[in-house]
Amino acid sequence: MFDDFFVRALLAGIGVALVAGPLGCFVVWRRLAYFGDTLSHGALLGVAVGLLLQIHLPTAVFIVCTFIALALFTIRRRSMISSDALLGLLSHSALAIGLVVLGFLTWVRVDLMGLLFGDILAVSENDLLLIWIGALCTLSILTWIWKPLFAATVSQELAEAEGLEPRRTELIFMILMAAVIAISMKIVGVLLITSLLIIPAAASRRFATSPAQMLIVASVIGVLSVIAGLLSSLTWDTPSGPSIVVAALICFLVSLTPFVNLFRSNLGASRNIGHE
């Protein structure tokens, strides 16, 4: 049952899920879901640019996404347009420009469905290497900036006043987002990347009583979703990317049931109500 391609797909998915979980927690906490969407739509533009210039695709995606992230980072500080509208504008423009450019590239045959929804079953050994190196680098950098990033997530002003450097940390975080999008594009596709960031993170919320716990649980849920999604994809011949997302959604729905309280440590449960 475990063919070569399936094992590769599994390993690739697990690598991506391990890093998408913790990063996704920050996306949820900082309300960057739409920002993540914008970046991932920008990934399609990255693919178009990569094909046009004939450079390594994930590298092209990474560069284009980093560029969009930095642009947003700068514009957000001085713009009069609400950032919601700005993100919507950029998000769909990037997607549209990407598709238009791809349309002009008549000499390349592009598997559009693969780009939009992922093609995890076509993961090569090189892809696998890239995913794992990228994931491990991202995780170590995230561990390194974790404290100031978290402080800035709670309050940017507080972090800055007390001598941390939230802006630098934020910048690094955005570059990490770009990196994760670049490596996960092949797994779930441009349209579903954000779900891999957000759904496991959201599903982990009710299992966790501390931020660090939530990061770990999000990773675990992500990995479980990948395994369940791929197995069902193999069994019922469903598209792999969407199957993973559906599996993650089921994890989220399970997390909403009262059942979860049993798993939770009862730390933090006691609190004297009415005590002055």
Partner: protein, 258 residues
């Protein structure tokens, strides 16, 4: 910059969003001193505090901090979303690790020790303010900035929090910069008042400020009625145990009327 000042603003001003938020502020905070900023909404109190914190850079003038100054900040608003599982214990270590003993002491002093394991999002407004102050205290800062620390706290709680702030000052010998629009209780604990209205409208000892014509014209009748309350609270401040209720219970009753 003088040798003892923790922070110093020299003719500092911030131009933002097409107008001057505040301009021409001269302010120095020394060790062991409580300076209170008062003024109407939009008068530049928070902006001035951010200049002192180094979060905002002055458009004109200068803002300097003493070298390796340890700062603690109690912001005006801190919204903790439900999606963030954060309990008081973890929150205490937010911007740097703090010895467990200091954390316990600070929570005890702020009267929120029993909330140690509670999620921040489950706290009431008053409890949250106490936790914020406890966190700042546990950092053992040289310079402490509090932006409206008693908001959402009832009258008795307010007195207790101001009591706590002066205890922090006495214990840590830190400089404190506090923002308040609530005049009468603030004045009891504070050494110096800076009244802002886009510029420094008047400054000096609480009594001097309360009696100055600029202050009266800015706050009108309400300001004058606060003056009476101030004198009242000032009497109590000098009692050694700091228990206001025990001294002039009947007088205090009348003092409550706003």
């Amino acid at each position: 910059m003088s040798n003892t000042s923790l922070i110093e603003l020299n003719n500092a001003g911030v131009f933002e969003g097409g107008h001057w938020r505040v301009r021409g502020v001269n302010l120095a905070v020394e060790r062991g001193e409580i300076v209170t900023l008062i003024g109407p909404n939009g008068s530049g109190k928070s902006t001035t505090a951010k200049l002192a914190l180094g979060v905002l850079k002055p458009t004109e003038g200068s803002a300097t901090q003493a070298k390796s100054l340890r700062i603690a900040y109690v912001p005006q608003k801190l919204y903790i979303d439900w999606s963030l599982p954060l309990d008081v214990q973890h929150f205490m270590h937010l911007t740097g690790s703090i010895p467990a003993q200091d954390v316990a002491q600070a929570l005890e002093a702020a009267g929120v020790k029993h909330l140690n394991q509670s999620q921040l999002s489950s706290l009431s407004g008053g409890e949250f303010q106490r936790v914020l102050i406890a966190r700042a205290m546990a950092r053992k800062p040289d310079f402490l900035v509090l932006d409206e620390p008693v908001q959402g706290v009832d009258y008795n709680g307010e007195i207790a929090l101001y009591e706590l702030i002066s205890v922090i000052r006495d214990k840590l010998q830190c400089g404190i910069l506090m923002i308040s629009h609530d005049l009468h209780v603030v004045m009891a604990a504070t050494d110096r008042v800076l009244c802002l209205n886009g510029h420094v409208c008047c400054s000096g000892s609480p009594t001097a400020v309360a009696e100055s014509p600029e202050f009266k014209s800015l706050f009108g009748l309400r300001g004058e009625s606060n003056l009476a309350l101030y004198t009242h609270d000032h009497d109590h401040k000098h009692m050694p145990d700091g228990q206001i209720e025990h001294i002039h219970p009947t007088k205090k009753e009348s003092g409550h009327v706003r």
